[in-house]
Every structure is written in structure tokens, then in C-alpha cells.
């Protein structure tokens, strides 16, 4: 019998069956991938496996024993959730070893020095850039994500490690590092469960895969017996081409946004121009300051010096309201922190940004709101059982789509997309590329920040690279090879202008 065995699990939420008769077997010493589109039920299944969410029916056996009879079996499972779940005002070391009794600090008194020492080992091993005594709120997002993974590994008793989209905020280098650790653990005989929407990752690390669709298992495969198109077909029930590009086919128009010598926290002396009808990519390592720069441009964080010209007029610095009024929208990479309005409905979440269309007279028209929200939900294929469902109950990917749809419905002139496809499934990624392309072709200027170079090369006409808070180069996508870009990203090489 398999080390972890799931039979006939069912879980229903109001209006949706999230898991429907799911069977699963996971062996030690393997990396088992859960694949499926947004809302397929991957995270729900994982929550069931960790014992934190009771299921409606079905059994979970670990090591041959029934978890319904012995809850302590769940101690064998270590789990890294999809969303960041850290304690921002506490130290790195404490975040790492929480809860202490599971990580070998179970005594009555905590030894600070021992904790610092052991924390340093984990920080080195996972290559996390932080000191043990630093507050987690002050370290970079990527480091927080790695820290969260390291935390799971501090659980002394774990035999199964479940990683729910662990790579969303990591760069290639960090992912490689993570995979090295995963392989180590696998070879030590642990069972690993891995979820990602990035196909190359799945194929690189996976041993076996279970595909979920609409809460049901549609197949189990050994990884080397399945091809990428096959897997995608299992997930989506259709064909998706991965080599297609989405570069806007119209000529770029006049400059719409000009940034001159902008400096602020995390970026210095940034100058660039965005033209109508183009997709301008921003590449860089995580922590390069792309988000900071764009939050500065948008006004969410006030820049210290510099000038921004929008549609020929100088933009007030440090005022998101002025930017939005001028037609600039920013979609944050951190949707939980900066995106959703959790206890409001899907309708209200989308409706909030189209109020100038639904309430031109100052009074919201319910029918107009319903028609706009309805078309957003259809256009972006947002899976929700009801428009009135609180958005916090949607799957992560569907939340992301709702936020994107909401921004598009506002018909912006400039759209700043920070990691637009983070956590989005393959089919919907393509949908988002298509949307960006058609918006650009309608004359919208789009800035796209992405840590996936491949993605930038499929969409962006020009790519600006950033390194350590400064712009390190500007390249024409068609004429530049990957090596040139990478060296600009990692900061070796002079400032280049290739355009």
C-alpha cells in the first residue's frame, strides 16, 4: 500500500463541489505533481491532506493507518500554503521554527542563541538573504517565500512535504536551489507533493502527476510517460499552443508616459518612455526594484525626485488617485495585500472600478453594473458559483482573473501589470496575453513586469532590464538574444541601448 492513500474524498462549499470522489496514491521517494487549472481543487485537496480542513466524506491513510482514527498522523505532513503566511513583526528565526514543539525547540524556555545558530544553517541552506534576528516584514518577498519553505522543512517529524505553488515569487536561480533541496529530500525517502502552473518546472521535478479538473481526478501518470500537450489537454480538455507569440502587430503610437530621472526608495534615476500600442517589458531579478519603480510611477509610494509626463501633462507625484484619474492603472503582484476586497462580493469587487460608467450621475445603476460585471465574468472566465460570493472564497487564480478583469473594464490608457500571470494556469495565461495584445492594438500603453523571461519574449516589443534599483539596459525583443538579456539582468555589462 502506498505511503499516502486517499480514497473517495469529497468536499463541498456553498454552491460548489470543490472535490468530487478524488483518489490518490503517493509513494515515498517521489515527487508527485498535482496539475489542474485555476479552481480545479488543488489547494482544497492539499488542505484536506494536511488535516486542517475536514472533508465531507472519504478516507486518508498515511503509512497504512487511517487518519480519521489517529489525527497525529498529520504530524507527518509538512505544508507550504499557496499564499504567504508569515508573522511580519517577528524575527526570521522565530518564523522559521514556529511552532517550536514541532521543530525541536519544545522546552519550556527558548534558547535564543541556539535558535539563531540553527536558523543560520537553514538560511544558508536555502540561500535566504536575511539575518536570523531581522523582522520578516523587512525582508524581500522572495526571501519570505523561501523562508516559508524552509519552515516546513524544520518540522522534525515530516515525511511528506506539500508545496502549493512555491515558486511564484522565485527567480530561476532560487528555483534551481529549491529543486536541489527537493531532490535531496526525495532521495532521503520523503514524499513530495508539488503544485505549479509552470510546465517546465513540473516536467523537471515531477515523478508522477495527478490531474484534477473541476474537482475530479481525470488521470494519474508517470511523468516520463506524458507529454506537455497531453498534460495540458488533460487539464483543460482542449489544445493550447505554447510557441505562439503575442507581440502587438500595430506600430507603436506617440509617447503616452514619460518618466524622467525618477528616484525613490529602491530605485534611482529611472528614465523611460512608454508609447501607445506597445507592451514594454521590465525584466530583472526579484528585488531589482521593478515593483518599487512602478509603485513610484503610479504614486502608491511617493518618489523623491523626478518628473512624470502623462499624455503631455505633468503627473502629480505620489497620488494614485491622480494616476487613476489620468487613466493609469497598476495591478499589484500581491493580490491578497493589494488587490481583493475580501468580504465584498465578486460583483462589488469588479463594480468598484467601473463606477464612472455605472454611476455617471452619482447614483449607481444596478442594471448597468450587472451588465458590465457579467461581461467581465464571462470574458475572463471567472469561476464562481454566484456573483454574490465573497471573493475571498474564490480560488487564487480566479481572484487574480477578477482583478485583471476589473482593471480592463475601466478602459485604461496605461496599464502597469506586475507579474500578471503569477499563479495563473496555462490556458488562462494565454488568455491574458491575448487580452494584453488586443488592448495594445487598441492604443493602450502596457508595462509588463515579469520574472519569466520567456513570457516577456512572447509579449513585449521592448524589454527594459533593471538591476539593483537601476535601469541596466533597453532591448528590442526581436533582435536580442537571451544571453544578452540575462547579463543585463544579473548586472554584468554596461548600460546598453540597443533600440
Amino acid at each position: 500500500m502506498a505511503f499516502l492513500r486517499v480514497q473517495g474524498i469529497r468536499k463541498e462549499f456553498p454552491g460548489v463541489v470543490a472535490l468530487d470522489n478524488v483518489d490518490l496514491e503517493i509513494e515515498r521517494g517521489t515527487v508527485h505533481v498535482f496539475a489542474g487549472e485555476n479552481g480545479a481543487g488543488k489547494s482544497t485537496l492539499i488542505r484536506a491532506l494536511t488535516g486542517i480542513m475536514p472533508v465531507d466524506s472519504g478516507t486518508i491513510h498515511i503509512d497504512g493507518r487511517d487518519t480519521a482514527e489517529d489525527k497525529s498522523l498529520f504530524d507527518l505532513v509538512a505544508y507550504v500554503p499557496q499564499e504567504l503566511n508569515v508573522f511580519p513583526h517577528m524575527s526570521v528565526a522565530e518564523n522559521l521554527f514556529m511552532p517550536f514543539d514541532k521543530s525541536g525547540f519544545g522546552g519550556a524556555v527558548l534558547s535564543g542563541s541556539r535558535m539563531t545558530r540553527e536558523a543560520q544553517e537553514y538560511l544558508d541552506r536555502f540561500d535566504i538573504h536575511a539575518r536570523p534576528d531581522q523582522a520578516v516584514g523587512s525582508i524581500a518577498v522572495s526571501d519570505r517565500q523561501l523562508l516559508q519553505i524552509a519552515r516546513a522543512a524544520t518540522k522534525k517529524s515530516f515525511q511528506i512535504l506539500i508545496l502549493d505553488e512555491p515558486t511564484t515569487s522565485l527567480t530561476t536561480k532560487e528555483i534551481e536551489r529549491l529543486f536541489k533541496i527537493i531532490r535531496q529530500l526525495r532521495d532521503e525517502g520523503k514524499a513530495i507533493v508539488f503544485v505549479s502552473h509552470k510546465m517546465d518546472e513540473i516536467f523537471e521535478i515531477g515523478t508522477t502527476v495527478t490531474v484534477l479538473r473541476n474537482g475530479q481526478t481525470v488521470g494519474h501518470r508517470a511523468m516520463d510517460e506524458v507529454t506537455e500537450p497531453e498534460l495540458i489537454r488533460m487539464m483543460s480538455g482542449g489544445e493550447i499552443r505554447l510557441d505562439q507569440t503575442f507581440l502587438p502587430e500595430t506600430e507603436p503610437g506617440e509617447p503616452i508616459l514619460t518618466v524622467e530621472h525618477l528616484s525613490g526608495r529602491g530605485f534611482t534615476d529611472a528614465s523611460f518612455t512608454l508609447r501607445r500600442g506597445e507592451i514594454l517589458g521590465f525584466a530583472g531579478l526579484i528585488g531589482a526594484g521593478r515593483s518599487e519603480l512602478m509603485q513610484g510611477v503610479f504614486g502608491y509610494k511617493k518618489p523623491k525626485h523626478g518628473r512624470i509626463v502623462l499624455k503631455g501633462e505633468e503627473l502629480r507625484l505620489g497620488s494614485p488617485a491622480a494616476s487613476v484619474a489620468g487613466g493609469v492603472l497598476y495591478l499589484s503582484e500581491e493580490r491578497k495585500l493589494h488587490g481583493i476586497l475580501p468580504t465584498l462580493s465578486v460583483r462589488e469587487n469588479i463594480g468598484i472600478s467601473v463606477l464612472d460608467q455605472t454611476a455617471p450621475s452619482g447614483v449607481i445603476s444596478g442594471s448597468r453594473e450587472r451588465s458590465i460585471v457579467g461581461s467581465v465574468i464571462d470574458d475572463y472566465d471567472i469561476k464562481t458559483s454566484s456573483w454574490e460570493k465573497k471573493i475571498m472564497f474564490l480560488s487564487g487564480g480566479n481572484q487574480q482573473k477578477a482583478i485583471i478583469g476589473r482593471a480592463m473594464a475601466r478602459r485604461p490608457d496605461v496599464l502597469i501589470f506586475d507579474e500578471p500571470t503569477r499563479g495563473i494556469d496555462v490556458r488562462n495565461k494565454v488568455e491574458i496575453y491575448k487580452i494584453m495584445k488586443s488592448l495594445a492594438e487598441e492604443g493602450v500603453g502596457i508595462i509588463m513586469i515579469s520574472s519569466e523571461l520567456a513570457e516577456l519574449k512572447r509579449c513585449a516589443t521592448r524589454i527594459i532590464t533593471m538591476h539593483d534599483g537601476e535601469i541596466s539596459g533597453e532591448f528590442d525583443t526581436m533582435t536580442t538574444d537571451a544571453d544578452t538579456l540575462v547579463s543585463a539582468i544579473i548586472g554584468s555589462g554596461e548600460l546598453r541601448h540597443v533600440v
Binding site: 487613476v324 465584498l344 449607481i364 454574490e388
Partner: protein, 332 residues
């Protein structure tokens, strides 16, 4: 709102009754109010008399106006513990203007509303400028405004409020006390604002997630200051109406309007964490508290037991609300 829900879902037939009920957020508190009303009618023959209804509605009017302000602040994720002190300060300043300075009563009335608005706005400004959570700031400001009241009056009530103003507090319109009419008008305006205008949506958005609201281009700080100002205005209005009712400007006006509006709001479904609930629910909550206080006296509960009984009923009311909501959700 519930009809909208029904219209949108694919197959309304599938939804159970319980889940429909759960979808109407005010139903729980409304049911509780009806039950308490009916029980009160049965408990005391004096309850459902015109005179008693008058005193209940008038009492509700004063605390209700403050509750409206406090509930809007709570939806925004803030709290103002100085609203009672603002009401008291505006009341006595009004008295000083009308009586001691001999100013025109209506001018004085308007100036006091402006003063209340200013006090609220000042709280809001400090919250925004200093990025403080409002709870503690307004504990301090309650001391400041209450202290100003004491300095202005030396604790002595100001008597001789002109009749022109007194009419506001004591007359009736079609048998309904004027302060209650004012409350109903304010409630309608604010509910409309909350449900049907962008400003109302922004309130909920900010209460849900302030950084996200800022990213949406909402002027978060401006709206915060405005709502604090509105709450100050409503409190000043309550204070002035109380002066009109009493015919004297009592320095103690507003002392009982600090915790009751918060309790009323929570009973009515407004979360202290922001983003949830409605002003109308808060008023229903205030009505529940008001009826309970009334029936306790009518029923002749020993004064020594009163505070215990009304405390226990507040606890029961919020427990009932919390339990029923969870039960219905599970069903749905």
C-alpha cells in the same frame, strides 16, 4: 440585494430557504427585534401605549444619530470614542451661544453643527496624519473635548434655551417625535449613500482593504476625514436635539453615547474589523437595546439588577447573531 442574488444565479430553485435567509444580512437582527417587541408587548400592558412608543422612539433618535456615525466609521475600519464628548461639547457651546451670548438660536444651532463637524474632522485628520489607530487617539480626544466642556461650563448646566429651539426636541409631526423623524431622514440618506453611491462603495472598500483601496485610486485619507467629520456632525446634531429636548444644556449630555452605539452596531451586524454591515442594521441594533432598557424599567426589574440584565442581553443578542449566522452558513 437579495433579489439581485436570485436574478444572477443560474438556477434559483436549487438554493435552499436557509441559504436565502443567510443571504439577507439584516434578517437575523430584524427577527430578534420583532421577537423582543412581541415579548415586550406580552410582558407589560404599558409597553404598547402611544406614550411609551413616543418615549422609545425619542430615546432611540438621540443615540441612533450617534450610532449612524459610529457605524459608518466602523464600516470604514475606524472607531471614535469621542463622539459622546463631541455631542456634549456642542450641546453646551450651543447653550452658551444662545443664552449667555444671546445669539440667534438658529445661527447658534448651525454653528454648533459646524463645531461638531470640525471636531470629528480634527480626529480624522489626526488619525490620517499620524497613521494611528483611532481607538486610542479618540480616547485621548474624548478627554480633550469632555475637558473643554467642563472648562466652558464648570459643570453647571446652562438654562433658558429659547423656545424656537425647544420645539425641535419636543414637538411631533403626525404623532411622531421630531427627533425620530430626523433620525429616519438621516438613516434614509445614509443608507442610500452607502448602497447606491460610489462614495458608499468606497467606504466598504477601504474597510475591507485599505492598501487595495488606495491602489484603486480611491482617496482613502480624504474619505476617512470626511466620515469622521460626518460622525462629528451627527453627534453634534444629537447633542443639540437633546439640548432642545431638555431646555437646558447639560454638561453630561453624551456620556451614555460612547459604548452603546458600538454595541448596537455589532448587534446589527457591523464588524469592528471593518468592511461589513450596514447603518440600517446598526439602527435596528440600537432599537433592540432601547426596547430592552425600556422593558426592564417597565417590568420593574430591581435597579441593582438592571445593568447585569442589560449586559447579559447584549451578550445574548450578539451570541444569537453569531450562532445563527454560522448555522445558516453551514446549511446553505
Amino acid at each position: 440585494m437579495s433579489s439581485e442574488v436570485a436574478a444572477e444565479t443560474a438556477s434559483p430553485a436549487k438554493r435552499t430557504l436557509a441559504s436565502r435567509i443567510a443571504a439577507v444580512p439584516l434578517l437575523g437582527v430584524f427577527t430578534a427585534l420583532v421577537v423582543i417587541f412581541v415579548v415586550s408587548c406580552m410582558l407589560s400592558p404599558h409597553f404598547l401605549t402611544p406614550y411609551n412608543m413616543t418615549i422609545i422612539s425619542r430615546t432611540l433618535a438621540f443615540v441612533g444619530l450617534v450610532t449612524l456615525g459610529q457605524s459608518m466609521l466602523m464600516i470604514l475600519g475606524e472607531l471614535d470614542l469621542s463622539l459622546g464628548a463631541i455631542a456634549g461639547l456642542c450641546g453646551v457651546v450651543g447653550g452658551i451661544m444662545m443664552v449667555q451670548m444671546g445669539w440667534n438660536p438658529w445661527l447658534s444651532f448651525a454653528l454648533c453643527l459646524a463645531l461638531g463637524t470640525f471636531c470629528g474632522m480634527f480626529n480624522g485628520f489626526l488619525v490620517v496624519a499620524l497613521r494611528l489607530h483611532s481607538l486610542v487617539l479618540t480616547i485621548g480626544m474624548a478627554g480633550v473635548y469632555g475637558g473643554a466642556n467642563l472648562v466652558a461650563t464648570k459643570g453647571v448646566a446652562i438654562t433658558g434655551i429659547p423656545d424656537a429651539i425647544r420645539v425641535l426636541g419636543n414637538s411631533k409631526l403626525y404623532g411622531v417625535p421630531v427627533p425620530f423623524v430626523i433620525l429616519v431622514v438621516a438613516l434614509i440618506v445614509i443608507t442610500f449613500m452607502a448602497v447606491k453611491t460610489p462614495f458608499g462603495r468606497y467606504l466598504y472598500a477601504i474597510g475591507n482593504n485599505p492598501p487595495a483601496a488606495r491602489m484603486l485610486g480611491i482617496r482613502v485619507d480624504t474619505i476617512r476625514v470626511l466620515v469622521f467629520a460626518a460622525a462629528g456632525f451627527l453627534s453634534a446634531l444629537a447633542g443639540m436635539l437633546m439640548v432642545a429636548r431638555l431646555g437646558t444644556a447639560q454638561p453630561s449630555i453624551g456620556e451614555g453615547w460612547v459604548l452603546a452605539p458600538i454595541a448596537a452596531s455589532v448587534i446589527g451586524g457591523v464588524a469592528t474589523t471593518g468592511g461589513v454591515g450596514s447603518p440600517i442594521g446598526a439602527i435596528l441594533g440600537a432599537a433592540i437595546i432601547g426596547i430592552i432598557e425600556n422593558i426592564i424599567v417597565l417590568f420593574g426589574v430591581s435597579p441593582y439588577w438592571q445593568s447585569m440584565v442589560s449586559g447579559a442581553i447584549v451578550v445574548l443578542a450578539i451570541s444569537f447573531d453569531s450562532i445563527s449566522r454560522r448555522y445558516l452558513r453551514r446549511e446553505g
